[in-house]
């Protein structure tokens, strides 16, 4: 059985050898030399280019690390990480919280303030220094009872 196969194989090889001779001659053709020289030179040129590229090539991991360090350094200088509260006038206008704090502080001071005004001298001073004549005239024309009433109102903080 094996002998038959071998014989058959030899027969086929013989049959084919003549037909394949053309291909073998083609492989050995002289005019291929130019192509093979060219192929070698092209490949070496490619290799050379790859080598040159390698020197400026960054591995992704290194590139990302580099990027991270740069970002960190930049943010470190640009961003103030301290907890100091800085309220500039500019910020005040736009900060609801700051506005509220200021308001609260102001109101609490008003509430705690102790009023001890001398209303008589206050009115007199106002009258003396007021540049509005019609108000002075009005006050002058008031009776003692009306003045006392105004005085009481001022005292009881109804006017202020």
């Amino acid at each position: 059985m094996k002998n038959n196969e071998n014989k058959r194989m030899e027969m086929l090889e013989k049959e084919l050898s003549h037909k394949l001779e053309v291909y073998k001659d083609f492989q050995k053709a002289d005019n291929n030399e130019y192509y093979f020289n060219n192929l070698y030179n092209r490949t070496m040129h490619k290799l050379e280019s790859k080598k040159n590229k390698k020197s400026i090539y960054f591995k992704p991991a290194i590139s990302y690390t580099f990027l991270f360090v740069i970002t960190f350094v930049v943010s470190f200088f640009w961003i103030d990480f301290s907890n100091e509260e800085i309220i500039s006038e500019e910020n005040y206008l736009f900060s609801e919280t700051s506005l509220w704090l200021e308001e609260e502080n102001y109101l609490s001071n008003v509430v705690n303030e102790d009023f001890s005004l001398d209303y008589v001298s206050y009115i007199n001073t106002e009258m003396n220094y007021s540049g509005v004549d019609f108000l002075n005239n009005e006050i002058i024309q008031l009776s003692d009872i009306e003045l006392n009433e105004i005085y009481e109102n001022i005292k009881n903080k109804k006017i202020l």
């Binding site: 291909y23 093979f36 092209r42 490949t43």
Partner: protein
């Protein structure tokens, strides 16, 4: 003799002598190309694979330890690269991604330009493409590269029995196909 010469060339190359590499490649370049050409039936693909193999050799020769013949090692690289190329090409064709940039090129740009028997060569190459890759590989190595089954087995990692069977089937099919065409 070959073994000693190859070893000397490799050692010289590893010592920085680029001429030694050129001499080494000159010795095997055509064998690499014709193996790829037979397997791929395309000058341009064979050209690409040959370039790849040269680059691999340049970068990996320092890993070769002379436990086998250099030419076996080179053939193993060429065989694997060629089979990988075929696999990638098949995948591309399956998903219709092949750019087909070389498909319609005239033969003027091929290596076989000016060769008298273009038609016969083309016919043989077409027939080769009609047999399975495994059979084609053995057939090319046995017929064109005149290797023994032992050498082919070392390169491909397949059993000698299996190789013989593949070769026999290849012979039968190629003979039939070539006869048909005539």
């Amino acid at each position: 003799m070959d073994f000693v010469e190859d070893k000397r060339l490799v050692e010289e190359f590893l010592d920085g002598n680029e001429v030694a590499f050129r001499n080494l490649i000159n010795k095997y370049l055509q064998k690499i190309y014709w193996h790829a050409r037979g397997m791929l039936n395309n000058h341009f693909d064979a050209d690409e694979v040959t370039q790849e193999v040269i680059i691999v050799l340049y970068n990996k020769l320092n890993t070769f330890n002379f436990e086998s013949n250099l030419y076996t090692w080179i053939y193993r690289i060429t065989s694997r690269r060629t089979l990988n190329f075929i696999r990638k090409k098949n995948v591309k064709e399956f998903f219709s991604l092949s750019d087909g940039k070389f498909d319609n090129l005239e033969l003027e740009t091929d290596i076989q330009n000016n060769f008298e028997k273009k038609d016969e060569i083309e016919r043989i190459e077409k027939v080769l493409q009609k047999i399975p890759t495994k059979q084609r590989e053995v057939f090319i190595m046995k017929n064109f590269e005149e290797m023994t089954y032992k050498e082919i087995s070392e390169i491909t990692g397949r059993s000698i029995g299996g190789l013989k069977a593949n070769y026999f089937h290849a012979l039968k099919k190629i003979t039939e196909l070539l006869n048909e065409k005539q």
